[in-house]
Symmetry: D2
């Protein structure tokens, strides 16, 4: 899966299900976050590092496309990568798979902000560089967007 070399493993909890017998749609945003946090830990010192340096990251937009329902105890993989990064913004793209099947996809747009004022601030250079360096070759911002 081009670009999506990082994955986080999710197991659908009973708590995640609803009376339709499937995972409630709001969980996908939580699973995206789990993948994002693990991605940042692997490649950029972790979200906590960002916070420790006085930054926060606010979610500006979220989009999810639900292709197949997820059910209790399903083992899912959340594939993610940074699809865009410029100024104070960055975008993560996601694809959720169950076995061979893609069951959902989506993206979230983020702003890096000052933790005190919540004002947008340029992505710190170390963050941009560490992400650029791991994302195989081409700069993420040149990738096409699925949205």
């Amino acid at each position: 899966m081009a670009g999506f070399d990082f994955t986080a493993a999710i197991r659908v909890r009973f708590h995640d299900t609803d009376a339709q017998g499937i995972a409630h749609n709001s969980n996908y945003l939580v699973w995206f976050e789990v993948a994002r946090v693990e991605y940042l830990e692997r490649y950029a010192g972790g979200y906590q590092t960002l916070r420790d340096q006085g930054y926060e990251s606010l979610v500006l937009e979220s989009y999810v496309r639900f292709l197949q329902p997820a059910r209790f105890d399903d083992r899912l993989l959340v594939h993610t990568y940074v699809a865009e990064m410029r100024g104070a913004r960055w975008r993560f793209d996601y694809r959720i798979t169950r076995g061979e099947e893609t069951i959902a996809e989506g993206w979230t747009m983020h702003a890096t902000v000052d933790a005190e004022t919540f004002r947008p601030t340029r992505n710190p250079a170390w963050l941009v560089e560490s992400i650029l360096s791991v994302q195989s070759g081409a700069p993420p911002s040149s990738r096409s967007s699925p949205s």
Copy 2:
């Protein structure tokens, strides 16, 4: 606010907040659902009526644009209307306000499915008609989409 004549009241729970001190982004999908359920109760006999007749409604897509953080104990209004309805599909548009301020907006796309098979099935006529009749004049499908 054109089209948005229906509102549901939300009060941000402490449980909804996260370590950034603001409401977590996944809650907005829950609040959208609360508004959707109340809308259907008011205008179409309720979501339970739909379920009792052998239908379910699956979420196909969701989009949220976060404009201002929501905080603990904030009183919010979720404005919603059916922006599109054709075949097995329908779309709800939402706007969340706090006082005079719009703090988020978004939409969700749904499919009406058979409750047994989860296969898409044409929206029942009574549902289409009851919604058309309440949404001031023009058919919803002719409205322009914010997405």
Copy 3:
């Protein structure tokens, strides 16, 4: 219902249900919190006042007894009162009713702590007094505990 003169209204959200078709057990702790927050707002200037004065309130223990399942769209009342208050501790008792029926009961024990250090600190006098004064006559600490 002796002591339980304060109630908060809850409507079971679709999100609260699980694949058993009933409200997931973890929600009851959220509903208890909603009632607690509304109680404090009514009688003691609000939880935010407590926080603004440099206090936090940590949950030390929670107990829930589930008598009847709650279902999607049920209208519930959460009855609560302060059953105990001494030193840095206080306990809320709860009873959840649906119509005439009690469907759950429980209690939570809390510690008042310094918001900086999270160290226990004596309940502020104004808080004790405002709660004592509203809880009809007898001091709460003399009430018998249901646990």
Copy 4:
């Protein structure tokens, strides 16, 4: 830790935190459930097997004692075992640790019910036996209760 030979690993999600900067108290009941589900998978064919055979398991009571706050990204272990099993009832005991430290403990009481009627029904023999056989030596029902 006597009896607690089974553990499930939990990593505190950002979503689990609240504006106090710690994990919200309702999550512990979800983490207990995660451990319970993994326990049943390991020793009794899984919760889904129980459901497939026409049983459901309802939570009758829950108790949590919070000893130390859990924070974002903490790695926790939930230790659990079946502390009691008789008639239609069974009780799980839990201990949550972070490194060497116990940060919470608790228990949940369950009833096995008929999935159609939600009426209590005797725990199926295969379930009792498979749990008895794995829990080192002494029958669980003879263990002393922490509550």
